[in-house]
Symmetry: C2
Subunit: 371 residues, 2 copies
């Protein structure tokens, strides 16, 4: 299998927000396009919880990436003009150092000995990579979903390092509904006796817990409205049904099962737990002046300095509701940025940025062309 990943060795030890440190850690990343001589055309993409660095195909890896229709020559993020970088998130399991990697102190996988991870650590690691690539200032920082929260951390921790920002289907902090969903996903994994306090292996693997976590994820990533049109009450054919009195009977159940099947063995359960918890912890209000009180989120967002920002959200998103993107847009505008706020009526819910490329692509291309 061809591999387009490059490797960046983080400063060692790499100090983390909640007190831990990583020795000999690295980030996996990929790039598209060419960095200009003035080093002023770089776009960095911070991803959601599960994607790899392979956002799009390139010469070294022609397989389609997770944002294939968005990035490439002549596409919405046009790599004839922009130098695009995407890194696998610190703490993930797609090449960047995470709980499944070997702890050099013990020669064994970290598992739950991986230090407590925050989205600030994700942001700081990404910033180290950007600087190491010789980029003083990003032309644009893009963040999707969890990556949008990491992007806010990046902007708050590294003022002056970003010229424009695209914030997609994200939030300045998790609301209790999102915390409840993620808490339940973590519970499903932890209650699977094969999880075994993080000490699973290929043979004894928390498949049931990961399946429930993923299905619950997919339910909250899409929208009820989309599914009415897509699945209605269509039944599976007799030969598709399991011989089980409570087995799948409706198409929507087999759709969820397919999603779970593709995910369960391809993502490290401990890594999932760490990133899920980091998403709950993140709160821009921590960066507000102490006296801000309940207005903490707004005050923190106002501290961010940008030339321009594009904030996109979707009306059918139940995990990161549109009101939270509106809050980001208002906050960045109050901080002095020229802000486009785009509320889309895509039916696909939180996942729309991955599938409704026509609507998202048009907004992104328009924003980048104006820069």
């Amino acid at each position: 299998m061809s591999d387009a990943r490059r490797w960046f060795a983080l400063p060692s030890p790499f100090h983390m927000k909640r007190g831990g440190e990583l020795v000999g850690a690295r980030l996996a990343y990929e790039t598209w396009g060419e960095l200009s001589a003035a080093r002023d055309n770089a776009i960095f993409i911070l991803t959601g919880l599960s994607p790899s660095a392979h956002a799009a195909s390139n010469a070294d890896d022609p397989s389609p990436g997770w944002w294939e229709e968005m990035i490439g020559p002549g596409k919405h993020i046009d790599t004839n003009r922009w130098f695009v970088i995407c890194a696998n998130t610190l703490g993930s399991c797609k090449g960047s150092t995470g709980p499944a990697d070997i702890n050099p102190a013990t020669g064994e996988p970290y598992r739950l000995d991986f230090p407590e991870l925050t989205l600030e650590d994700v942001a700081n690691a990404s910033h180290e990579l950007v600087r190491a690539l010789g980029i003083e200032r990003l032309a644009c920082l893009v963040g999707n979903s969890m990556g949008g929260m990491s992007a806010l951390a990046y902007l708050l921790l590294h003022p002056g390092s970003v010229r424009t920002h695209i914030s997609i289907s994200t939030a300045p902090q998790a609301q209790p509904f999102a915390i409840a969903i993620r808490s339940l996903q973590r519970e499903a994994i932890r209650l699977d006796h094969n999880w075994n306090n993080g000490h699973y292996d290929e043979e004894h693997y928390p498949e049931a817990g990961m399946s429930i976590a993923r299905k619950l994820g997919v339910i909250t990533y899409r929208s009820a409205m989309e599914w009415v049109g897509r699945f209605a009450r269509i039944r599976l054919d007799a030969e598709q049904r399991e011989d089980d009195p409570f087995g799948a009977e409706f198409q929507v159940e087999s759709y969820l099962a397919g999603h779970a099947r593709r995910f369960v063995r391809s993502f490290d359960p401990n890594s999932y737990l760490y990133l899920s918890r980091a998403s709950d912890w993140f709160d821009v209000a921590e960066y507000a002046p102490k006296e801000a009180g309940h207005g903490g989120v707004d005050h923190a967002l106002q501290r961010i300095r940008l030339e321009r920002a594009l904030v996109i959200g979707v009306e059918t998103d139940i995990l990161f509701p549109l009101s939270q993107q509106q809050q980001i847009a208002d906050g960045l505008r109050a901080g002095g940025a020229e802000v486009d706020f785009v509320a889309l009526d895509s039916p696909q819910g939180h996942d729309a940025f991955l599938v409704d490329i026509p609507r998202f692509g048009a907004a992104i291309a328009r924003f980048l062309a104006a820069g």
Copy 2:
């Protein structure tokens, strides 16, 4: 413990929609108020998935019922005027025959040998009870949530047996989002190795699966909006936290844990599976003329004959969305009933009928007073 339950022996064998039968089955029920000499003041309440027959306190059982503020002398459903009946659902575990009861054919609990259960069976069993009480025609049939679907079955299967109807936060059929949620709840129970294909006992009990199922239920019974105001991002005090790196940290997590704790051992897991599946199966469109096609739901609803109906829904309900109550109201109106459709802005989501008694009670009292 005092007990107000009475017992009704169903005709034996009791034939079920999907071909099974029950021998020696019974319903547990409670009543409030007095049946008038003309037997024309009876209100029958069909419940949601988990409630018992104890809807309100009475002389034999002064403990508060699950609709305590709604039913009683001088209350919204005024037992000085009405004779109110509430039965535990057939297939449940609060006195009516269900999978946890002894199968007279074997002397062992039914467990998964309980016949396939549908909401039509729930409706037919309830209708037998009403007739046995000497009531030819109910003054009002009330159905909440799953009970609202059972009520539609009752109305379709027993034309002329009901004068008016109150339909609360329910649907004419499950949409794919609701099916997906319930399927995942069933999966969580079934994947718990203590479930053991239905053969659990007190010592080996599917506690983890039931906990996940209940928490997922509560998440979908309430609304994200309510929780922003109620929990925000409030943390638990240090002494409330578990000594577990992924244990509960936010108030919303401990709220869910409390709900799960109260439910897990008080509801039979197999019964939960049967009633959950019955909710997915129910579809009024089965009662439409064959030629109705995609308009099946509307055509079926139009076959129902009522003098008057009250249909209530809540804007924040994600499990039974308001558009489905609107569809019921439109269908019953097209069938000739005088229909009040009340869309409430209660923040509590699907559960609002249990907690927002001022709003629901006012609508119900107004409707009953006009009768």
